[in-house]
């Protein structure tokens, strides 16, 4: 079986592809990243299915080179997974309608589903399923949410008998669908969402990056210094020093072995910094 991943540019087809096949493809936040196609294999029950990541296309009436490639590939597939940007239904459904007119089994993945909530967009999934006549699965490809459902829905792909339409008819149908399934509420962004937004923009991103780097530096310093002064230093002074002193008197306080292992005993005490022995300074300096 040959599965085609189709959708508008920059809706996350390549990320869905990676999720389905485990093949790493370069996905970036620019439209048109996929110009040639990539293919990979996925397990579908007992079978192995071939998945093809088709270049992004806005329409099946090809207007660019990449779209011509996409159209040619459509003829070779057994079914289509149409990846749709859930936050931009109106534009993306144009391609969906064209696909449905082709009488090829299809499943719609409403990708970027998390972003709809964030933007206050509400989509009535059941209604959308009913109007399109194909399974509609909400997904968040970047986190993997909904991918399992998507895989399970692939065998259930349906071929709706959509009549061929003209351009204006399609837009009219889309207007109708969007009116019925989507409503938008204004909602206040939570501070987490504000941070997410800020991190995705250059200025905010740099500030956040510096804050995170600075924060981790301070954290490492804090943890390190507390370890030294509250754990390691007492450990050396209270536990290790008596052992060394005993060893020192056992070795007779002098001699080759004593000098190598313990070094000099300064003023009857072990000085971990100045003794210069393997078990004294040799342990203390690397550890602290």
């Amino acid at each position: 079986m040959k599965i085609l991943l189709m959708g508008n540019p920059n809706v996350g087809k390549s990320v869905v592809f990676s999720r389905l096949t485990g093949v790493r493809v370069i996905a970036s936040n620019y439209p048109g990243t996929t110009v040639s196609y990539t293919h990979g294999l996925m397990k579908l029950g007992e079978e192995r299915a071939e998945v093809i990541d088709v270049p992004g296309t806005y329409t099946l009436e090809p207007t660019t080179k990449a779209e011509e490639v996409a159209l040619q590939m459509l003829g070779t597939g057994d079914m289509v997974v149409n990846v749709v940007n859930a936050t931009n239904l109106e534009r993306d459904l144009y391609l969906t309608l064209q696909l449905l007119e082709r009488n090829i089994p299809a499943v719609v993945a409403l990708n970027m589903w998390d972003d709809t909530e964030h933007r206050g967009i509400h989509i009535d999934l059941d209604k959308l399923r009913q109007l399109l006549g194909v399974p509609v699965i909400p997904t968040v490809a970047t986190t993997g949410q909904g991918i399992k459902d998507l895989v399970e829905s692939i065998p259930k792909a349906t071929t709706p008998k959509a009549p061929p339409r003209s351009r204006d008819e399609r837009w009219a149908v889309i207007g109708n669908i969007v009116d019925q399934v989507q409503y938008i509420t204004h909602r206040h962004h939570t501070w987490l969402e504000r941070m997410e937004d800020a991190s995705a923009k250059p200025a905010g991103g740099i500030i956040l990056a510096i804050a995170v780097l600075g924060g981790s530096f301070l954290a490492v310093r804090f943890i390190g210094e507390s370890l030294i002064s509250y754990v390691l230093n007492p450990l050396f002074d209270k536990l290790w020093a008596p052992v060394i002193l005993r060893l020192s008197s056992f070795l007779g306080g002098d001699g080759l072995l004593h000098n190598i292992l313990i070094g000099k005993i300064i003023g009857g005490e072990v000085n971990f910094i100045e003794s210069f022995g393997l078990l004294t300074t040799g342990l203390y300096v690397p550890l602290l």
């Binding site: 806005y58 329409t59 009436e61 207007t63 940007n85 936050t87 931009n88 534009r91 144009y94 391609l95």
Partner: protein, 86 residues
């Protein structure tokens, strides 16, 4: 409200919203822009432009697309006065 002044997309300033009135181009351009959702009656916002006849970014629905300078020059729009709802 649209103020009745029709200009090309390149003539309006960044950040200005407008309604697409007409696309002065051949079949290819009309069909290309149609697929992007740029068709008469649609509301688009110019996000940014680039000097030296560079591409122009517009926002349509929730998506941003960049179109060539030449294309922008063929899109006739009617600006919506600022302050008239976003």
């Amino acid at each position: 409200m649209p103020n009745g002044k029709q200009v090309t997309l390149r003539q309006i300033r960044d950040g200005q919203s407008s309604i697409v009135i007409q696309i002065q181009g051949g079949h290819g351009l009309i069909s290309r822009l149609n697929a992007l959702g740029i068709r008469p009656g649609q509301r688009i916002t110019k996000v940014s432009s680039t000097p030296m006849r560079g591409p122009i970014t517009i926002k349509i629905g929730n998506a941003q697309v960049a179109i060539g300078f030449g294309m922008a020059n063929k899109i006739i729009v009617e600006p919506i006065e600022a302050g008239n709802g976003k």
